[in-house]
C-alpha cells in the first residue's frame, strides 16, 4: 500500500513538473517574441529610438502600454530598457509631477493595441509577434 502511494506521488510530481516546464518554456517563448509595431508605412526604428519614446524623452510618438498585471509588459521593458516596472514607474512619476506629460495609455490586450496603432500614425505599441497581421507594421523586433 505504502509503495503504491509513493508511485502515485511520483507520477503526480512528474505531471506537475511537466506542466511547470511547459509553462516555463511557453513563457520563455513569449518573452522572445515581442515586437514593436506602428501603422503600415512607418519607418523601422532603432532600439534607442523606441526606448526614448517609452521613457518619455521623445514625445513625438504616442506610446501604448499593456496591463501591468500581464507578463508582456514586464518582458518588453526589461528587453527594451533593462529596467523593471518599478523603475519605469519612477521615471514617469518624475515626468508627470514636473508637468511634462502622462504615462503611456494602457490598453487591455494585443488586439486593442493593434487597433489603436492601425488607426493613428503617431501611435506605437508592443505585441506578441504571432499576433502581427497586415493592419500594422513591425518597426522593431526585441530579441
Amino acid at each position: 500500500m505504502k509503495s503504491q502511494i509513493s508511485v502515485r506521488n511520483v507520477r503526480a510530481f512528474r505531471r506537475a513538473l511537466a506542466v511547470f516546464v511547459g509553462l516555463a518554456v511557453s513563457a520563455a517563448a513569449q518573452a522572445g517574441e515581442i515586437v514593436v509595431i506602428m501603422a503600415p508605412g512607418a519607418p523601422a526604428l532603432s532600439k534607442d529610438q523606441v526606448v526614448n519614446v517609452y521613457i518619455g524623452r521623445n514625445k513625438d510618438l504616442k506610446p501604448l502600454d499593456l496591463p501591468e498585471s500581464g507578463n508582456e509588459r514586464r518582458v518588453f521593458y526589461k528587453k527594451a530598457t533593462d529596467r523593471d516596472l518599478a523603475q519605469i514607474k519612477a521615471v514617469w512619476a518624475r515626468i508627470a509631477f514636473t508637468g511634462l506629460g502622462q504615462p503611456p495609455k494602457e490598453l487591455p490586450d494585443d488586439e486593442a493595441i493593434k487597433k489603436a496603432v492601425a488607426a493613428d500614425p503617431k501611435a506605437i505599441g508592443y505585441i506578441q509577434k504571432t499576433h502581427v497581421d497586415d493592419s500594422v507594421k513591425v518597426v522593431l523586433e526585441l530579441n
Binding site: R57, N58, D60, K89, A90, A93
Partner: protein, 376 residues
C-alpha cells in the same frame, strides 16, 4: 517685505486662476478637454543619536529632528491636477501638504501654471513653476522618483527658494543621438526661512534659471545657472542699518549615469554673492559637491554617497569644509510603493545638517531617516 510678498503671491494666484478659468471655459465650449488627477506622498520619520542638535534639510525648516522620532521632516502628501485643453493648451496645479516653517503640516502651491505646447518639444508656461536650481530640484518632493531618501544637503540645502512665479520656456531637440533640452525661467519668488534659528522672510526679484541638459543612452549631463536679487536690511546698531541688495547666484553641473542596474550621480555647485557694503564679506557663499553610487539587486537598491560643503568667510555661516558619508537602501515592496532607510554621520559643526551647529566640535552624530514613498 511681507506685504509685497503677499501682494505678489495674490497677483500670481489670481493671474493663474484667471488664465485657468479662461482656458477651461474655452474648452467647455468645445467639449474637448480631459482632467488627470494623480498624487504622491511619503510617510516617514527621522531620528538622531543626539538630543542637542536639530537635524534639518534646508533653511525652510524651522524645527529639526533630535533623538525623538520626528515625522515632520520626512512626510508629505501631494495632489496634482492637469487639465488638457485643445490646441496644445493645458493647466497644471500641484498642492503639497508638508511641514512649512515652524508650523505644523500645511498646504502650499508648488506648481500652478498654464502651458502652451507649440509642439511636443516646445513648451511655454506662465504661473508658478519649480525653481530647478539643481539636477533633482523639480522633483525632490516626489520621493518615489528618487533612489535615496533625501537629496544631499551639501548641495540642495543651500537654495532657500523652491518655486518661481513668472514665465518658463522649454525646448527639446535631437543633436544626432543626443537629446538636448534647454530651459529658461524668469520671475520672482519669496520664502520664509530661518538663519541660525532666527526667522526671516526673504524674496528674490528679477530671478532667473537657465539650464542645458544633454541625454545620451544612460548618461545625463546638466549645466545650470540660477540668480536672484534679494533686498535685505542689516541693523548694525540703533542708528546704523545697512540696506542693500544681495545678488545671489548658483552655478551648477550635474552628471547622472543609470543603465538600469548601476547608478552614479554627482553634482558640483558654487554659490556666489556680492559683498555687503561696510562689512566687506558676502551674506552667504560656498562650494559644494557630492558623488553617489548604487546598484540594483532586483527590488533592492543600496546606495552610498559622499558630500562636501565648503563654506567661505560669510556673515551667515562659519568658514570651513565638511565631508559626510551617507548610506541608503530602497526596497520596491509593492506596486507604486517603496520603503527606504538612510543613515548619515555629519559633524555637529556642519551648518548644512544642523539648525544651530556647534562650530567648535568635530563630534559626529548618527542621523537615521526612513519612510515609505507612494504614487497614485
Amino acid at each position: 517685505m511681507m506685504r509685497s510678498k503677499n501682494n505678489r503671491q495674490l497677483i500670481c494666484a489670481l493671474t493663474s486662476l484667471g488664465l485657468a478659468l479662461f482656458l477651461i471655459s474655452a474648452a467647455r465650449a468645445s467639449d474637448d478637454y480631459n482632467v488627470t488627477v494623480s498624487g504622491f506622498g511619503t510617510a516617514g520619520g527621522a531620528i538622531t543619536s543626539n538630543p542637542d542638535f536639530a537635524y534639518y534639510h534646508d533653511s525652510t525648516e524651522f524645527v529639526g529632528a533630535t533623538n525623538n522620532i520626528d515625522i515632520g521632516l520626512e512626510s508629505r502628501l501631494g495632489v496634482q491636477a492637469v487639465v488638457n485643453l485643445p490646441s496644445g493648451f493645458s493647466v497644471t496645479a500641484q498642492e503639497v501638504v508638508r511641514e512649512r516653517g515652524s508650523s505644523e503640516f500645511s498646504p502650499g502651491t508648488e506648481w500652478l501654471f498654464a502651458q502652451y505646447a507649440a509642439n511636443p518639444d516646445l513648451l511655454f508656461r506662465v504661473g508658478r513653476v519649480a525653481l530647478a536650481t539643481f539636477l533633482l530640484s523639480d522633483s525632490r518632493n516626489v520621493g518615489y522618483t528618487q533612489t535615496w531618501m533625501n537629496v544631499p544637503n551639501e548641495v540642495y540645502g543651500n537654495e532657500p527658494f523652491q518655486t518661481l512665479d513668472g514665465v518658463q520656456a522649454r525646448w527639446r531637440f535631437d543633436a544626432g543621438p543626443v537629446s538636448v533640452t534647454l530651459t529658461g525661467a524668469y520671475g520672482s519668488t519669496s520664502q520664509s526661512i530661518q538663519v541660525n534659528g532666527n526667522p526671516l522672510d526673504v524674496e528674490a526679484k528679477t530671478a532667473y534659471n537657465v539650464a542645458a541638459t544633454a541625454e545620451w543612452k544612460s548618461v545625463l549631463l546638466r549645466i545650470s545657472q540660477t540668480s536672484g536679487n534679494s533686498p535685505f536690511s542689516l541693523p548694525l546698531s540703533q542708528t546704523l542699518t545697512i540696506d542693500t541688495t544681495t545678488k545671489d547666484r548658483f552655478d551648477a553641473v550635474g552628471l547622472q549615469y543609470d543603465d538600469g542596474t548601476a547608478i552614479f550621480l554627482s553634482e558640483w555647485a558654487e554659490r556666489t554673492q556680492n559683498l555687503i557694503p561696510l562689512l566687506g564679506i558676502p551674506l552667504a557663499g560656498s562650494k559644494e559637491w557630492y558623488a553617489a553610487g548604487g546598484w540594483r539587486f532586483g527590488a533592492w537598491t543600496p546606495m552610498v554617497s559622499y558630500g562636501v560643503w565648503k563654506g567661505a568667510h560669510t556673515l551667515e555661516d562659519a568658514e570651513g569644509t565638511w565631508g559626510t558619508w551617507s548610506a541608503s537602501v530602497r526596497y520596491d515592496v509593492a506596486r507604486n510603493i517603496d520603503l527606504k532607510l538612510e543613515v548619515s554621520r555629519p559633524e555637529e559643526s556642519n551648518p548644512r545638517y544642523f539648525l544651530t551647529p556647534n562650530p567648535l566640535s568635530s563630534q559626529r552624530i548618527d542621523v537615521l531617516s526612513f519612510g515609505a514613498d507612494f504614487v497614485f
